[in-house]
């Protein structure tokens, strides 16, 4: 039987794979950070879905635990993305391009 949990878990996995495919094929560092955000969205959705049918009382393995982890994951993900974007700006100032292969060539 297809439930909301199944649908959201499937969506989370699809988002994670799409994001990883984009990370591996992207020629622009900004798009790479965007792809990281999509992977993060997929992970958050899968985490949220894993607790969707769990009992409500507090304690490990319950819905409140998974929702708290999603809460924490959102905030930590935002901090990581801020650092990633700062790295992108620094690389652009230093090398004048956002193409990873060009940056690799310019380093040598």
């Amino acid at each position: 039987m297809i439930t909301d949990q199944t649908v959201f878990l499937f969506t989370g996995v699809v988002l994670a794979f799409v994001g990883m495919a984009s990370i591996s094929s992207s020629r622009n560092l900004i798009k790479t950070v965007m792809a990281f955000q999509v992977v993060l969205l997929g992970a958050n959705l899968a985490l949220f879905a894993s607790g969707l049918d769990a009992p409500l009382q507090s304690g490990l393995g319950t819905r409140l635990t998974t929702d708290s982890f999603v809460f924490l994951s959102i905030l930590v993900g935002a901090a990581v993305e801020a650092v990633g974007l700062a790295v992108v700006v620094t690389l652009y100032r230093k090398y004048g391009t956002l193409d990873p292969s060009e940056i690799r060539k310019l380093r040598h």
């Binding site: 297809i2 439930t3 909301d4 649908v7 959201f8 499937f10 969506t11 699809v14 988002l15 799409v18 994001g19 984009s22 622009n28 900004i30 798009k31 950070v33 965007m34 792809a35 955000q37 999509v38 969205l41 958050n44 959705l45 949220f48 969707l52 409500l56 507090s58 819905r63 409140l64 635990t65 929702d67 708290s68 999603v70 809460f71 924490l72 959102i74 905030l75 930590v76 993900g77 935002a78 901090a79 990581v80 993305e81 801020a82 650092v83 974007l85 700062a86 790295v87 992108v88 700006v89 620094t90 652009y92 956002l98």
Partner: protein
């Protein structure tokens, strides 16, 4: 299939569609617009399925702060070649995104009268109470992560000694 899995399927399809367009669009500005919609739809999903607190945090953080960060970086690096008001692709992307959000919202309102599905009660207050119960550890983790991020960003933007 009841109406509730149908709602989740519609939201999931919209999230996947906006994410795919965001990642495989050739223009960074279009990607940013669709990434905004993707984050917004995920926040709507969290809210509809019973956790308005996490949904609100998702929308405020990713659709708000991170989108502004992306926009700042895109404008700083000049990668976007933004033609706001003139580019047909930008206009089409924005229109398509608005249509997607409107269709999802309409479907949700039709399915549940705007309220969360009855089998998924709103657990925002319980989540908040649970977080409050463990607030020293939560605050410790968050303060550490944010301090590390701030130090890293400040270090990256600092001038190199000549």
């Amino acid at each position: 299939m009841t109406s509730e899995p149908l709602v989740s399927a519609v939201i999931s399809a919209a999230i996947i569609a906006t994410a795919v367009v965001a990642l495989f669009s050739t223009r960074v500005s279009v990607s940013l617009i669709f990434l905004f919609y993707s984050s917004m739809l995920l926040g709507i999903a969290f809210t509809v399925y019973g956790d308005a607190l996490v949904g609100l945090m998702q929308i405020v953080t990713f659709s708000g702060a991170v989108s502004v960060l992306f926009l700042t970086v895109i404008l700083m690096t000049g990668e976007s070649r933004l033609r706001i008001g003139a580019g047909p692709t930008t206009i089409a992307a924005a229109t398509g995104g608005v249509v997607v959000v409107a269709v999802v919202l309409t479907r949700l309102v039709a399915a549940g009268g705007g309220a969360p599905p009855s089998s998924y009660p709103d657990v925002s207050m319980q989540t908040f109470a649970f977080l409050w119960e463990y607030r020293p550890w939560d605050l410790l983790v968050l303060v550490t992560v944010f301090a590390a991020a701030m130090v890293t960003v400040a270090n990256l933007f600092s001038r190199e000694p000549s």
